[in-house]
Each structure stands twice: as C-alpha cells, then as structure tokens.
C-alpha cells in the first residue's frame, strides 16, 4: 500500500507530466516524419513514387505534368522519398494540422525538357 507513496508524492509535488499545449510546444525530433513535400520543379513525372507507394495515395500523370497526393491516405512511410530518382520528395517534421475539408494536394509542374527539346534543337 505504501509502495506507491513515493511516486504519488513525487507526482503531487513535482512538475506536471504534461505540457501546456498550445503555449508550450515540443521540439520535433530530427528524424520525425511529419508530412510529404514535393519540389515540383525537379519532378520528371516518372511515376516511380506512385508504383512504390503502399497505400496507393499518389497519382502521377505524365501527359498533364500532374502530381497528386491524397494526404489523408498517405501513411508517411517515406517509401516514395527513397524511390524518387530526382530526390524531389522529402518529409518535413511538422505534423498535419486538422482541416475542415479534405482535399487532394495537386501540383502541376513544367513538362520535363528532355527528348522533345533535344529533337527541336536538332
């Protein structure tokens, strides 16, 4: 019965175990996986991320230069980040905030200047 006395006294007179959120916020850990970000200018729309994603929340359309993410399906595993050949995907440390309307994140980039441009020049 008295075994709990010391933890209880410590808890009673010590600092609270919880934080006074939102006034006091915790530093995110260096490796924390918050949400997925893309640098659309670097994307070549190869679709690798879409093929590797385990939760099928990505949709890449090469013809329209469109990269679409359903952030509410994404499990933030980071597989796409590892798979991307141009390293344009990254995970930031900030967790998603609540929203009123769930919307897909659609990014339209520039069509990759590769073979077509090379042909025109020739």
């Amino acid at each position: 019965m008295f075994g709990m006395l010391s933890p209880i006294l410590k808890n009673g007179f010590g600092k609270p175990a919880t934080r006074l959120y939102p006034f006091e916020k915790r530093e995110a850990f260096d490796k924390a996986r918050g949400q997925l970000e893309i640098d659309i200018d670097k994307c070549i729309f190869c679709g690798m991320c879409q093929r590797k994603c385990p939760s099928t929340c990505l949709n890449v359309e090469k013809a329209a230069s469109k990269w679409e993410l359903d952030p509410y399906n994404c499990v933030i595993c980071g597989v796409c980040v590892e798979a991307c050949p141009t390293k344009c995907l990254s995970l930031n440390k900030v967790y998603r905030t609540p929203v009123y309307v769930k919307e897909n994140q659609i990014k339209i980039g520039k069509p990759p200047v590769k073979k077509t441009a090379a042909k025109e020049n020739a």
Partner: protein
C-alpha cells in the same frame, strides 16, 4: 436447474476492452458456467491484400495488423520472405531489429500494465505506467520517426540506422525505465488488492496450457519454458537471455511474467547496444519470392507465426498469420467457467487480448 441460468453479453463494447469482442456468459447466480465467444467485429481482410500489393508493399500492411506489436509484425513478415528468398540480412540490421522489437515489448507491457491497473480502478498506477511508457514511445520517434507504427523494416534489412549517440541514449533510457519500473514493482506485485483479485484466479495448468496451444506469457506463467526468441531469429542468436517462467498459472503469475519480462527486454536492449557492429543495414533484393516459408516470432503477447507462399510473381500467392491472441482464446475460455462475473474483466486482460490482430 436450467431456469436459473442467465446469459449476459460481455462486450463488444465494454470499459475494459479497447477492441470489440463479445463473450456470451452463461451464469448461474454470479458464477460463470460457460462462455461463448463471438469474434469477427473488425475483420479487415488484410491477408488477402497480397493479391493487390506486391511483396515489398505488404511489409506496411503486415505492420498494420497490430498497432502495438507493429514492428514485430513487419519483422516477422520480412523474416519469412527472407527465408523464402534465401536473403542474408546484414548483422547490424539484425541488431537494429532486436532493438526496435524490445522497445516495442517494453512499451506494450507498460501499456498492458496500465490497462490492467485501470481495470482494477488503480488510477494512480495507470497514470504512472503510461508516463513511463511515454519515454519509450518518444525514443521510438527519435530513432525511427514515428511513435508506434515505425515503418523501419523492409525485406532485406531495415530502412533507418540509429546513430551512436542515439544508441547511448537508448541505454540511458533503459536504465531510467528500469529504475522507474522498479519503483512501482512493490505496489504491483505485493499490493493486497491486486493479489486479492489475481491470486488463484483463472488457473491454467501446465498440461492444459500446452494442450490448448496457449502462447507467450500465458504459456510461460503456467510453467512451460518456451519463448520463440530462443530459436534465435534476427539478432537474438547473438544475445543471452533467460525466458521468464512462473508455475502458478493464475492471473497473478501472468502479471509477474509480464512485469519481469520488461527487465529482460531492457537487458536485451543494453546487450544489443553494447554488441552492435558497424556496417550495412540492408541488402538489395532481386527477384520474386517463390516457394513456401514459415516463421515463428515472439511478440509481447506471445508467439506469432507467418506462413507465406510465393509463385514467382511480385504478388504472393498466400499469406497466413496466426496471432498470439487467437492462440490464447481457447485457454481463456477454459479459465472462465467457475469464475465470478466480476472477475471476467481481469481474466480477459491477463491474456492481453489484441482483437485487431486476431481478426486481421
């Protein structure tokens, strides 16, 4: 005789059950004479997803079979695929797998202890154990990036490395958790109320436990010295540990086994950090799985088995998971007849039920 019997539904929604399972309890006065289980409330059909997800993506599906032993599910799946494809995992990855597994075991047992204390109405203990657990979960976030479902396992190794400073922090955490758990040891194991409610309740003999196919702490609390880690999968082959065994087979023995297992897990963490070699953390996987493989892994709740069958394509043909709670349900149903209605919640908790993984 017959008209004195009452049937009381226990669950699917019940204060001690975080997940839905129903027991139809046939009572005579306050005594349980029979219990009929009804499972299937949260079947998700995860095993069938092998048809639509390739074998690498399935790691993340396996991980989501159970929230609490998530890393061990992912690891079991990866181990079975690696066995199928004859993949040698680098030694460092083996050690990292042990570290994350044991962190999961500690946090799972602390969570269980909190829930158990909550079922007794011992709120101070509930808060205390969950406070300790918070430090373990924070460590998981610091090392892997997520708090519970850490997504660090992959076929062929692990996806993230742990830096040397963080490894030292893990040792510090192990010492700290050990000290804090020791501080509550006396209150858990010698408390009059806890003993009153657990000693000689739900006794399962050694023969019964073995015959009914019980797993994990339920089996070991009845005196069977069997822990799947003894097989030496992943990094356990490099480490020394003694399985925790009790002989009484009652709720108190199961509590004691889980409690002492935390110390074993913390010790394994220290050993793993001391011995971890430098080197690669994963190998490239080529080809598709073909053939059949089976693996046993010890989770916090007991032994899980994975059977996978590949047919040379990127999708597996079949995956079958037998989870520890599923194995413990027959033992649980044997414990129930003869107990008082008020003891049923405590009995249910001492098998540490995880219904989500049972139904997958």
């Amino acid at each position: 005789m017959g008209d004195r019997r009452t049937v009381i539904p226990f669950g699917p929604q019940h204060p001690v059950l975080p997940e839905p399972i129903q027991l139809k309890l046939v009572l005579e006065d306050e005594k349980v004479v029979e219990a009929l289980p009804q499972i299937g409330y949260i079947h998700r059909g995860l095993e069938r997803l092998v048809k639509v997800r390739d074998f690498n993506q399935m790691v993340f599906v396996a991980e989501r079979i159970c929230g609490i032993c998530s890393f061990q599910h992912a690891m079991s799946y990866c181990l079975s695929i690696e066995r199928l494809m004859n993949i040698e995992v680098p030694e460092r990855a083996d050690y990292l797998r042990v570290i994350w597994s044991e962190l999961h075991r500690v946090h799972s047992h602390l969570l269980w202890l909190g829930l158990m204390a909550d079922a007794f109405g011992f709120e101070a203990m509930f808060m205390e154990t969950w406070k300790i657990r918070e430090a373990v979960v924070d460590m998981m976030e610091a090392t892997a990036g997520s708090r519970v479902i850490i997504s660090t396992c992959q076929v062929g190794g692990v996806r993230r490395d742990i830096a040397p400073e963080l490894l030292q922090q893990i040792v510090k955490l192990a010492d700290d958790v050990q000290r804090r758990v020791k501080a509550i040891e006396h209150s858990v194991l010698n408390d009059y109320t806890i003993k009153k409610r657990t000693v000689d309740k739900g006794v399962i003999s050694k023969e019964q436990a073995w015959k009914l196919g019980a797993a994990g702490p339920v089996l070991r609390a009845s005196g069977v010295k069997w822990d799947a880690r003894m097989i030496g999968y992943a990094g356990y082959k490099y480490l020394n540990f003694e399985p925790v065994v009790e002989t009484a087979g009652d709720c108190y023995a199961r509590t004691k086994v889980r409690f002492r297992e935390m110390f074993v897990a913390l010790d394994l963490l220290r050993q793993a950090v001391a011995k971890i070699p430098a080197g690669e953390i994963n190998v490239k996987v080529k080809g598709n799985p073909e053939g059949e493989a089976f693996i046993q892994v010890e989770q916090p709740r007991g032994e899980v088995t994975y059977t996978v069958k590949g047919n040379g394509t990127k999708n597996l043909e079949k995956m079958h998971v037998r989870t520890p709670t599923f194995a413990n349900i027959p033992a649980f149903l044997t414990m129930l007849p003869g107990c008082e209605l008020a003891d049923v919640p405590v009995l249910a908790l001492t098998i540490d039920p995880c219904i989500s993984c049972t139904e997958r």
